[in-house]
Symmetry: C2
Subunit: 118 residues, 2 copies
C-alpha cells in the first residue's frame, strides 16, 4: 500500500502547503477559481485539482453563479485537526509558562545574586 489518499481525511488534505494557502485565501471571503488562479500564480488546472481535494474532505463550500464557481472555507471540516492538536496546546502554553519562569529566574539573578539561601 502506498501513502493514504489526500482525500482520505482533512489531515492529508491540508498537508499540502498550496491547499492551506487556498484555504487561507477563501477563509474570509468567497473567491472564484479565476481569482484564486490570479492570486496563487499557478496554472488553473492545478487550482481546480486542489479545490477538488478540499471539496472532497468538506474543507470548502462551492456556490455556482453562471459559469463561475465561488469557493469559501468551511472551518467546521478542520475540527478534527483542531481537536487533535489542542490536546498538545496545553503543553505548548505550558512551555510559554516555563519560558516565563526561566526569564523571571534570570531577571532575579540579574538584580542580585546575594539572595541565594542568605
Amino acid at each position: 500500500m502506498a501513502r493514504a489518499a489526500t482525500t482520505a481525511d482533512v489531515f492529508n488534505a491540508v498537508a499540502e502547503p498550496r491547499r492551506r494557502e487556498i484555504l487561507d485565501l477563501v477563509a474570509t471571503e468567497e473567491l472564484s477559481v479565476s481569482e484564486l488562479v490570479e492570486r496563487l500564480g499557478i496554472p488553473q488546472p492545478q487550482v481546480s485539482k486542489h479545490l477538488r481535494v478540499l471539496r472532497e474532505v468538506g474543507a470548502v463550500h462551492v456556490r455556482s453563479d453562471g459559469r463561475q464557481r465561488f469557493y469559501r472555507a468551511n472551518p467546521e471540516a478542520l475540527r478534527p485537526i483542531h481537536e487533535w492538536v489542542s490536546r498538545y496546546a496545553a503543553a505548548l502554553e505550558e512551555r510559554f509558562g516555563e519560558l516565563d519562569a526561566v526569564l523571571s529566574e534570570l531577571k532575579r539573578e540579574e538584580l542580585g545574586d546575594d539572595c541565594n539561601d542568605a
Copy 2:
C-alpha cells in the same frame, strides 16, 4: 515532482494516523520501541520507521538507555499546526455559539411557544 516528503514538515508527518497514534502514546509518558510495538500491534520495523519520520521533524525526543530507546513527544514541533488551525478556531467556537443559540431557541419553543412577541 511527486508529493512532498513526509519529513518535509510536521503537517505531512502527522497526516499519517499511525504517527498521530504514536505521538498520543508518548505524549504523557516515555515509551520504548518495544512498548510501542506492543501497544500498536504492528511490526517493529514499521514502528521504527514511523519514529524516524517523527524524529526528523522534531516531533519526538529520544533517550538511549542501554539497548533500549525511549521516545517522548515534543509538543513544540506541533506549534505550526496549532498556529495555523487556530486561525480557524474562532470560527469553530463561533459555530458552537450558534449551536447553543439554536438549542436555546428549541428549548424556549419547547417550554411554550406562547412567548412569541406576545
